[in-house]
Amino acid sequence: MSTVYNEADPYAGSRETTEGRVYTVTGGDWDLTFADPHDEDRLVVNMGPQHPSTHGVLRLVLDLEGETVTKARVVIGYLHTGIEKNTEYRNWVQGTTFVTRMDYLSPLFNEAGYCLAVEKLLGIEAPQRAQTIRVLVMELNRIASHLVALATFGMEMGALTGMTNGFREREMVLDVLEEITGLRMNHAYIRPGGLAQDLPEGAVESVRDLLKILPKRVADFHRLLTGQPIWQNRLKDAGYLDVTGCVALGVTGPILRAAGLPWDLRKVEPYLGYETYDFEVPTADTSDAWGRYLVRMAEVNESLKIVAQALDRLEPGPVMVEDRKIAWPAQLSLGADGMGNSLDHVRNIMGQSMESLIHHFKLVTEGFRVPAGQVYVPIESPRGELGFHVVSDGGTRPWRVHVRDPSFVNLQATAAMSEGGMIADVIAAIASIDPVMGGVDR
């Protein structure tokens, strides 16, 4: 956009010369712009989009009177990558690899939500083993995500040891996810109809080892921060938002539960068999950053319980639907040169018949068709209600994928949480929302 200057422009005076009009551009004078004789203390502070306390590329414009915030405006969009639009030009299976990159701290939830929506459109259900493994990896992912939330919480409040500890523990979880899916993040492990592959050998033992270590580490985290007077004073009464405020602003997840409402989609609208797992929904009644911290800490322990139960009920079986018109035809195995298509599988395809080869080729290049219609599938991500509104026109690609990302919605509460409070509490409020900008901007 080209700026049009004119004589009325207060920032660029001009005069006519023989060479044409010459402008005198001076720096923006905030005193002139914001001069207010009744309110000399008013100060506008721009924070971010590259500020270490703003969780990535979030920009805050704060109106201050002394240290009191009178107005907080949130500016987003710095990480917009057009993922929703991109999915419209890829086939249904490829959609998984796009949505997994949205909220990069909870990739498996993005995949699971998307795949559940596609499966609902298709009218199919993943096999039991695939569902159990989905629950298993999702809860591991929830632990990893909450650990980052707690770690960055510590960092932003100045408790740097909390940051190093949280990220260390999270890396242990990611190591296990890497062993299972092949990647630390952006797994593309959950696919429409099931999973990309079964659990590799030794994965169950790795998860069990993790389950032995993590409870101790969570207790250490409690010892490090929970009883600490500075930590408590920074968090208590900061970023207050009660149930009414949460529901009006659409806020879900730990923030809503910290306000006292035990609203967890795993309990109230169960999916993937969550109703058969034994776990509690932790709540707090403080409606502030302190309560959100406690709720997240407790949720890590509940997720550990679910992971243990999922391990115990793993039965051998297929991890992809039987329907060969939908099931992805690849079969991975570890060869001498790393992970790749299983040679037996390739030999099988190439040796069977011309028709089966054609079918394999067509399913990979063209993809399956999904009957026309629309569905909305919500699941409980670490940050709240993650909803997938998926529309099909009956073709091989999604007509529209809209993601109701919880970070996007929860971030709207920033103003309600911080206006009227101290500027230092803005940091506590944002940290307690735990927004992930990849999900906010998509």
Binding site: E84, K85, G250, V268, E366, Y376, G387, H389, G394
Partner: protein
């Protein structure tokens, strides 16, 4: 409800305007494998034009009756153009003049209590199969997902507007959470929410031209340094549909 998208559609009952494609009637490629099967396109394309008959089943009837009680039969008849039950979800197609009346009743009535507006978004149905969109079959849809936390129910409200007159009343006065949702829908689809406190772009830069998620938004190709070749924009690449 599986396969409900095709409910009521076969050759005998097909409303006029529907057609078949696929199999050996291919276009754009030499593919005659028949892999995609025979695709029957309904007259509304991706938009199912039929209406589900009562009873809808489950709690759908309860909610519909409560809604009629709350706003009155006359208003309901004028406001709700048709109701579609598909894949276990209920969609009310709503006339935009009555959206706020319905939304207020849905939120406040004690038999309804849809306290939470989960999501507001848009869908552009331009060229989604069937005949071209016109004033009677507007292309831009606004979709609201409402959640009742009291009764644990979800419903969908859907409105359709033309690209020439893309005005929809804003529900921010009833659901404050719709603020950013509506800004995003405006940003991506150019749908104008009348009554929104500050309807500005939210994800794209303020000076951006056009609305990227419209289906006719021009997409860019990628130049490659080989004999001046270009990777064509994704919507013009050869592809299976």
């Amino acid at each position: 409800m599986a396969g409900g998208g095709e409910a009521g559609f076969d050759d005998a009952t097909a409303p006029s305007g529907g057609f078949r494609k696929g199999a050996f009637g291919v276009s754009g490629s030499g593919d005659t494998s028949g892999f995609g099967g025979l695709v029957r396109v309904e007259p509304g394309g991706a938009v199912a034009l039929h209406s589900t008959d009562r009873p809808y089943g489950g709690w759908f009837d309860e909610v519909t009756d409560a809604l009629i009680d709350a706003v009155g039969q006359a208003t309901y008849d004028a406001a709700v153009l048709r109701v579609l039950v598909d894949r276990g979800e209920i969609t009310y197609f709503v006339a935009r003049e009555h959206l706020l009346t319905l939304a207020r009743a849905l939120r406040d009535d004690e038999a309804l209590r849809f306290e939470l507006c989960s999501s507001v978004s848009g869908v552009d149905y331009l060229d989604s199969g069937g005949p071209a969109a016109d004033a009677t079959r507007p292309r831009l849809h606004v979709v609201l997902h409402l959640t009742s936390m009291t009764y644990r129910r979800r419903i969908r409200l859907e409105l359709a507007v033309t690209a020439e007159d893309p005005h929809v009343p804003s529900v921010t006065g009833i659901y404050p959470t719709a603020d950013w949702h509506e800004r995003e829908t405006f940003d991506m689809f150019g749908i104008v929410f009348d009554g929104h406190p500050a309807l500005t772009r939210i994800l794209m830069p303020d000076d951006w031209d056009g609305h990227p998620q419209r289906k006719d938004y021009p997409l860019g190709g990628v130049p490659v340094e080989y004999h001046g070749a270009t990777i064509p924009p994704p919507d013009t690449r050869r592809a299976y549909r």
